[in-house]
């Protein structure tokens, strides 16, 4: 009679629950998108964007806004489980702790990816970006970049509620640890944006991209695996 669903089935159910709740409340996506818009605005006054410097500072501006917005989103990872002690309900259910991590991590990837795709047009507008097929590899960079942020971010978000540092804890841990991924994101985005320079060869996948994307993939895989293994120790009371 006791047919415990598989870890993957649990992950899907948990993820679907979070997506339905987010769809209904939009507690995370809307503020994050708006936040990115505000950061782009602030950067504009800091750096006078829109000039020729697009491929030099553009990728940095883009990823800085994403990372700061994602910190806000990550803070809310376990917010829904905190109300009404829902986390107790999940932990007492026959759910592997790893499934909870995977669901929350995948949820964060989807939220971040959503923010990135929704704000890219704004970025393009402010920076006078020429739209074109050369932007397609950005999707891969967004996906792996989001996975990198979410891999360690989800793990540390589970700790934040129990520290006196509260909302400080997450940036303090995530920002320095994320630097390898951030470097690759910025570098890869730079390579892609250079494709927009008029008269540049229009390869869809410039060769330099591979090393950066590879680094990102490595980061995401290593830390998702590690965090998945360590999550039991974090979530337990």
């Amino acid at each position: 009679m006791s047919a415990v669903p598989s870890t993957w089935a649990h992950t899907r159910i948990l993820l679907r629950k979070d997506l339905v709740a987010e769809w209904r409340t939009k507690e995370r996506l809307s503020p994050m998108v708006f936040f990115v818009l505000l950061v782009l605005l602030v950067f504009n006054f800091g750096f006078e964007l829109g000039g020729a410097a697009l491929w030099e500072i553009g990728p940095g501006v883009l990823w800085t806004s994403f990372v700061f917005a994602s910190l806000f989103g990550l803070q809310r990872t376990f917010a829904a489980e905190g109300a009404n002690d829902c986390l107790d309900g999940l932990l007492a259910a026959p759910v592997e702790r790893g499934a909870l991590y995977l669901a929350k991590m995948l949820g964060n990837v989807l939220f971040l990816l959503g923010v990135e795709l929704l704000t890219l047009p704004m970025f393009g507008l402010f920076f006078n970006l020429t739209p074109g097929l050369y932007l397609l590899p950005l999707f891969v960079v967004f996906l792996l970049g989001s996975a990198s942020v979410a891999s360690i971010g989800t793990l540390f978000a589970a700790m934040a509620g129990h520290s006196r540092l509260r909302e400080f804890l997450l940036p303090l841990l995530v920002l320095p640890m994320l630097i390898p991924a951030l470097i690759s994101c910025v570098a890869a985005t730079g390579v892609i944006l250079e494709g927009g320079i008029p008269g540049r060869g229009t390869e869809l996948w410039p060769a330099e991209l591979t090393v950066h994307v590879g680094m990102l993939g490595l980061f995401a895989v290593v830390f998702t695996t590690l965090a998945w293994m360590l999550f039991d120790f974090v979530i337990e009371e």
Binding site: L169, P176, V222
Partner: protein
């Protein structure tokens, strides 16, 4: 307790070794032809960097062991190692610019190894913050251990990516044939720092052990 005389012997060794090392650095080692006297910083700079790297590995070791055994002594081991790692890193980050000013013309450059050291330093400061701002107890120890493990796995990635990012900024002196006197001085300094590291580690561990015992005692008397 046999640990006390051992620490005392070690302190004597460290004192003597440090004297020898300072003499070797300033009197015995020849002046480097291109950089001049400033190069003498290198002996302590590199020794401290090695000690810091060792310390970060020990944080990792202590963290893994803590999660396996849940024994408080491994937690203290990781904590003390992180403190030492930060102290030695701070020395590296301090002595590096001192050397860089006359050689590179500026105190700071975003040079791969220096940058890696700085990032690693910030990660372990964050590690100590997780400890000191957590509610005292088993949960914070667990969190710290998790951070200690993730941090250490991150170090090679930081190093690799920074190298990729700033390959053209690589300004650390490449490996050169050292004069034998320079080599001996370097080895003396390594030895001295290894002894200093071990001594500090022992003393801090003793302190922490006693603090834990004191707390356990005061808890028992309160009951």
């Amino acid at each position: 307790m046999i640990s006390l005389p051992m620490s005392r012997i070690l302190s004597i060794v460290v004192t003597l070794a440090m004297l020898v090392a300072v003499c070797a650095v300033f009197l015995y080692a020849p002046t480097e032809r291109q950089m001049g006297d400033v190069q003498r910083i290198f002996y302590f700079h590199v020794s401290a960097a090695l000690s810091a790297a060792t310390a970060y590995f020990l944080v990792f070791l202590g963290s893994v062991q803590y999660l396996r055994t849940r024994a408080d002594r491994w937690d203290r081991f990781a904590k003390v190692s992180a403190e030492l790692g930060i102290a030695f890193s701070a020395f590296v980050l301090f002595s590096g610019p001192l050397w860089a000013r006359p050689i590179w013309g500026v105190f700071w450059r975003w040079e791969p190894r220096l940058t890696t050291m700085l990032i690693t330093f910030t990660i372990y400061v964050a590690y100590l913050m997780v400890r000191s701002y957590g509610e005292p107890g088993e949960r914070t120890q667990r969190f710290a251990a998790v951070v200690g493990i993730v941090a250490f796995v991150n170090v090679p990635l930081v190093h690799y990516s920074i190298n990729m990012w700033a390959a053209d900024q690589q300004l650390h002196p490449p490996k050169v044939e050292l004069d034998p006197a320079m080599l001996y001085t370097k080895l003396i300094c390594y030895f001295t720092f290894a002894c200093l590291f071990t001594l500090l580690m022992r003393l801090r561990l003793q302190q922490e052990r006693q603090a834990a015992r004191l707390e356990a005692l005061s808890r028992r008397t309160q009951q």
